[in-house]
């Protein structure tokens, strides 16, 4: 059987009982709870704005802009989630299960758009397809001045850019699911007379559901939090409203209230989704090694590489080509030794963050495995909400407690020792990494949680009956099985941290400029040509680890 329901273990009731399991204090519960509190602080700081409503700003927004913002946001999120879900799953199926010319190349290269920030893809699309772009200009020259392309600066354009930039989240997770899925279920299906397509729809796809859902959840959260891309297309969403309240109407309370609504919305959706598959258990059926691929023949043999090639071209080759073209133009003027420093800091930050966040997410996923129950689920959901909050708002929510702690510390040092102390947290890497943890925990958690679902309780029991202790169980059974999920999590966090801007800008120590902040300096003044150079550097720096790690997990 592919997926079957198990009765849920009831969580002990009562606040105190929550930390106890069979009378003993549960370390897992304590850990989950502590982590949730840590991550919750910034979110609560943001949500505390609900206590001080700014009625005037609210009324204005509600009367004039909110209905449209909400409609745009829902349309965009739905559109991008569905499109990225289908595209990512389809491509993952092709490269993981089927065989066709070029499969090996596409299997890793289709991941490459991950290293491109979505707003860069967006800007390149606008540059190419707007009225003044080369394509429209050529068409006008050939066919007369009346010829018009459909307007790219629109919701459709923004959805296209986000889909092309975000589908790799689904692709990466779904591909891992298909690769590690046991072949036996499909064989059983075929023996029962299912066609190849039915086998995909009725067996492989449901089996991969936790991974696909995890990927789509990441895509949806990223879309909800996106500001840069929609700004390029001047397409107003909920995030736009948040920034408008803050930057233009100078009402941080109103901005934070809007952000709290967004958090609440995401929480409810994710929680419902969680409840929907709460009863499901996913276990691999049969060995996955030594599998054979479905060799495509006839039309499919030609169409598959064409399709993969088309996606790769639009999502990666064209934007990168444009970036390279621009970068070459400014390289002589801008490229200097400082780039090594930008590169070094970006890699260092991304590497440290990927390690720390993946380790934390792994512990969190284990905590959930050890302590099933609605409350734990809710807390884990809460701990991974940071990803859906617009970066700059989250940066504030993180910075306020950091500054508060420093003030407390400095005050204490002054009183106890009578000496002037400097801030302990603000402007340190520790603060920066904690902020990344809050933002990107979800990114590492989704693939790990999905991977952990594959390790069945009966496997644990079998291992224990063979005399393995907990540590051996983890080392010899779990870790090998989790390796793919860990690698996926690390890739995603690594690349995301490299691209991240608002938190890096706000929390970096003096002089800690990275490739991403360099891109910010240029794009904020509209100097896209000069932003291309750091963007290309970021791409190259992000690609090497991605390709290396992919190769390692490739069978």
């Amino acid at each position: 059987m592919s997926a079957h329901a198990l009765p849920e273990r009831k969580a002990p009731s009562g606040a105190f009982a929550f930390f106890r399991k069979r009378g003993r204090l549960s370390a897992w519960r304590l850990f989950t709870f502590t982590l949730c509190v840590l991550v919750a602080i910034p979110l609560l700081v943001v949500a505390s704005s609900l206590l001080h409503p700014d009625r005037e700003t609210w009324r204005h927004l509600a009367d004039n802009v909110l209905p449209e913002l909400i409609r745009h946001t829902l349309l965009l999120t739905l559109g991008v989630s569905v499109a990225a879900g289908i595209l990512g799953t389809g491509l993952a199926w092709l490269t993981a299960v089927c065989d066709f010319p070029g499969r090996r190349f596409f299997s890793w290269s289709l991941m490459l758009p991950l290293a491109l920030p979505a707003y860069v893809t967006g800007f390149v699309l606008v540059g190419l397809l707007d009225f003044t772009g080369p394509i429209a200009t050529l068409l006008r020259q050939w066919f007369g001045p009346q010829v018009r392309l459909p307007p790219i600066r629109s919701g459709g354009g923004a959805a296209l850019a986000l889909t092309l930039a975000l589908y790799p989240y689904v692709y990466l997770l779904a591909r891992h699911a298909f690769l590690s899925q046991g072949k036996r279920a499909l064989e059983v299906g075929q023996s029962l007379g299912l066609s190849r397509r039915q086998g995909f729809l009725r067996i492989a796809l449901p089996l991969a559901r936790p991974w696909i859902a995890g990927g789509v959840a990441l895509v949806a959260m990223e879309t909800l939090a996106d500001f840069g891309t929609v700004a390029v297309f001047n397409y107003d969403t909920f995030t736009t409203g948040i920034y408008k309240a803050w930057y233009s109407l100078f009402s941080l309370p109103a901005a934070a209230q809007l952000a709290s609504l967004l958090i609440l919305f995401v929480f409810v959706v994710l929680f419902l989704e969680q409840r929907l598959r709460a009863g499901m258990r996913y276990t691999p059926t049969g060995r996955s090694a030594g599998r054979e691929r479905l060799v495509l023949t006839g039309f499919g043999r030609l169409a598959a590489p064409l399709f993969c090639g088309a996606v790769l071209t639009v999502a990666f080759i064209v934007p990168v080509g444009q970036l390279l073209w621009w970068a070459l133009g400014v390289a002589a003027q801008d490229l200097d030794l400082r780039y090594w420093a930008y590169l070094g800091r970006s890699l260092l930050l991304a590497g440290m963050a990927a390690t720390l966040i993946t380790a934390t997410a792994l512990l969190l996923a284990y905590a959930r495995r050890q302590q099933r129950g609605a409350l734990t689920d809710a807390m884990v959901r809460f701990a991974t909400l940071g990803y859906a909050v617009p970066g700059a708002v989250l940066a504030i929510g993180i910075y306020l407690p950091i500054a508060w702690f420093d003030r407390l510390y400095i005050g204490l040092m002054g009183e106890l020792f009578g000496r002037e102390a400097g801030p302990l947290l603000a402007g340190t890497l520790l603060a920066m990494l904690s902020a990344y943890l809050v933002r990107f925990l979800a990114v590492a958690h989704e693939p790990l949680a999905a991977a952990l679902q594959r390790i069945t309780p009966s496997m644990d029991e079998a291992a224990r009956s063979l005399g393995l202790c907990s540590r051996q169980l983890i080392q010899r059974v779990h870790l090998p099985l989790l390796k793919g999920g860990v690698v996926t999590a690390m890739i995603l966090v690594f690349v995301d941290v490299m691209k991240e801007m608002p938190i890096t800008l706000m929390t970096r120590p003096f002089g800690w400029d990275t490739l991403a902040t360099r891109i910010f300096e240029m794009t904020s003044e509209g100097e896209w040509e000069r932003a291309a150079l750091p963007a290309v550097a970021l791409l190259v720096a992000g690609l090497f680890p991605v390709i290396l790690l992919t190769r390692q997990t490739e069978r």
Partner: protein, 332 residues
């Protein structure tokens, strides 16, 4: 493993924090690194004073200052747009500075009446037009662009950009809300296409004939024409019979809890001096604030014009009203 990671992180953080030696001024800057670093480097060369700075957008920088309170390391806050400086002053983040040098170097309309911030360069927002399709004599004022004769011929940048918010704020100061709303509605009705995300794209659309006329900052025009000198684009100075061209500033103020207040004031005074003014304005093709200093030759070539003499602080005061007005008028 975790504690080892943690301790190595702390060690690393300690290793990268700079050693204190010599005088140092700390700046939070919303003016970009590439526009401000050459100026700071020149100051360090001239005085030996080190400048440490961090860049971000105005909003986050102000929140950071606020959160840090008395513990902030920042001595100086540098931003673009008077509205942001006005807001920073309103929130008590800046301290008044009594400096005869600043008062003589910076004209009264380009600094805070309460001396909490000072303009350092002037940015003019003016009309650009397609020279193949529009004659300069067809143009007159910002208000005239709302006339139906421009229907389907106007391009604008998004109302989310502070430059347009300041322009509309100044119109409110002059005409009141009701009339300004009619003007903005007129602009929206005349749009040839949806508003653009940046000035450069908007100007390229004017040059390509998607529309005939637009409103933009002069330095974007300067940068674009440097790259593509053959574009059929020109600047027009509007409202010369009336209140003058709308100008904004980039500027700075000394933070309320500055550790090195004297050093921050000296830096600010130097930035307004002829030595620095050329450098400060030239790197971004802006106009100097100091009336004794001439603009760079490339900038001077765009001709002389009458500026709107109203104090730029007004833009800050009326910014929220302007944003709401533009929302009501359907200006995206």
């Amino acid at each position: 493993m975790f504690s080892r990671l943690l301790s190595s992180l702390i060690l690393l953080a300690a290793a990268v924090s700079p050693l204190a030696h010599g005088e140092e001024v700390v700046v939070y800057s919303a003016r970009n690194e590439q526009l401000i670093k050459p100026v700071f480097d020149a100051y360090t060369r001239a005085t030996g004073v080190t400048i440490r700075f961090i860049t971000d957008k105005e909003g986050p920088l102000m929140q950071r200052l606020k959160a840090e309170g008395p513990n902030t390391p920042a001595d100086l806050l540098l931003t673009v747009d008077a509205g942001n400086l006005w807001q920073a002053a309103e929130e008590g983040l800046l301290a008044p500075v009594n400096s005869p040098i600043l008062q003589s170097n910076v004209p009264a309309s380009l600094r805070d009446p309460g001396n909490r911030w000072f303009g350092l360069s002037v940015r003019a927002r003016t009309i650009v037009y397609n020279t193949d399709r529009v004659r300069a004599s067809d143009l007159s004022t910002y208000e005239d662009l709302a006339d139906p004769k421009w229907k389907g011929r106007l391009c604008l940048r998004t109302s989310k950009k502070v430059y347009n918010q300041s322009l509309v704020a100044m119109l409110i100061a002059e005409h009141g809300e009701a009339k300004t709303e009619r003007i903005v509605r007129g602009w929206v009705a005349n749009l040839a296409t949806d508003p653009f995300a940046d000035d450069t794209k908007m100007m390229e659309a004017v040059a390509a004939g998607q529309c005939d006329v637009g409103i933009g900052n002069t330095y974007y025009y300067g940068r674009l024409m440097e790259k593509k000198p053959n574009l059929p684009l020109a600047l027009f100075w509007p409202n010369q019979q009336g209140s003058g061209v709308h100008v904004n500033i980039s500027g700075a103020g000394v933070t309320r809890y500055a550790k090195n207040r004297a050093g921050a004031i000296r830096l600010l005074e130097w930035l307004s001096s002829p030595d620095a003014q050329n450098l400060f304005a030239d790197v971004n093709l802006e106009y100097p604030v100091n009336p004794q200093v001439k603009p760079a030759p490339a900038v001077a070539a765009w001709g002389e014009f009458k500026r709107n003499p109203i104090n730029v602080a007004k833009a800050g005061e009326l910014q929220a009203a302007a944003v709401k007005l533009m929302d009501r008028a359907g200006y995206k």
